[in-house]
Amino acid sequence: MQAPRTEGDDSCLPELVSHLRDNRTGLREEWAQRITDAHLLSAMSEEEIFSEVTSVFDKYVDTLETGSVESLQEYAEDLSERIIPRGVETHEVLGIVLLLRDVLARSLFQKYQEDFELLNRVLDAYEPAANRIAVIVGVSFVQERERVIGQQQATIRELSTPVLQVRERLLALPIIGELDSQRAAQLTDQLLNAVRSNRARVVVIDITGVPSIDKNVANHLVQTVRACRLMGAAVLVTGLSSDIARTLVTLGVDLSMMDTVGDLQGGIEEAEHLLGYEVRKAQAASPEDKR
């Protein structure tokens, strides 16, 4: 006959928590052994596993006792931040938490096996709490992984669109590969920040390596040019193939905003000329220097 289930009956909690604490060492060892047997945390050394196991065990039992979700979440985030760089994967984290859950549950079965009714009450207290812990730890880990991956992707995007300082006051941005709206937006951000930190007066954007651009991206390009202007930098766009130029005209993109030059080399020369002209002007105030 099954004892009536009373969800949330925490009266047994203190007792089961102190049992788990009293048997801490043995339970921890058992858990660590099962982790090794299951080939989990293979990326970590034995010492590392031992130290993590110790702290996770204590935290697990603390959380069973206090029921504090915030504290566990914080802990789980910390833990995730630590172990993700070491190459630990999601199935491993879930695996070890569930193994611990099991090790502790069996310990409770063993202790209360004589009294079925009491055992039921103990499990009524233990199971919801243990399940909550597993979910929190699992979710925290997954969220942290997603955050890290997102950051890595952003870094890759930035690295693949390097802004180069060619000369003082002159930046070049050779774009290679397909440009989508997202990449174009990130590119604009990067370029404008580079204009500020390099105090650039001229920017050469080379799109020789861009196979095709649609209206959205073309407009993005135009906007980038305009934004650079607001920051006092002139822009030359180079490498505009006749195909792309035709497409843009057909799409009705306002090309008058862009000064275009044949290729990157030509663009840089033109830019130097623009800058050189300024420098010459400052050095000699005579009108003959005007061309």
Binding site: R199, Q223, R226, A227, M231, A282
Partner: protein
């Protein structure tokens, strides 16, 4: 608190710290016009480095001040538009094509030097 205007050689420099109300814009304009007269200033630099948002009102105001002071014989340069603000402005559609812009105070001063030199050349014939 009115926008402080400093004298730098033949130029005036006004640094806008916060968002300006209608009244404050008018006040700035009047003060600039007065000082252009008092000091025979040839150029004005309006520094908007501290403006974290430039909306259509701000943009219109800056334009108005530029056009008005130009009528009085002083050329204006706006400096210090931040990257994210520049981005927002163009996405919004605030172009300011007819306004001079430069990266910062130093660049702005250089621009005014070139501008006044060119004008002197032109006048000199």
């Amino acid at each position: 608190m009115p926008v402080p205007i400093l004298k730098q050689g033949h130029y005036l420099v006004a640094s806008i710290q916060d968002a300006l109300s209608d009244g404050e814009v008018l006040e700035l304009q009047e003060n600039l016009l007065k000082q252009i007269g008092d000091f025979r200033a040839r150029g004005i630099i309006v520094d908007v480095t501290a403006m974290d948002v430039i909306d259509s009102f701000a943009s219109r105001s800056l334009r108005t001040v530029a056009l008005t002071t130009r009528l009085r014989g002083a050329e204006m340069v706006i400096v210090g538009i931040q990257p994210d603000v520049a981005s927002a402005m163009v996405q919004f559609g605030l172009l300011m094509d007819d306004i001079n812009t430069a990266l910062n105070l130093e660049e702005g001063l250089e621009f005014l030097d070139r501008w006044t030199a060119e004008r002197a050349d032109a006048d000199g014939g």
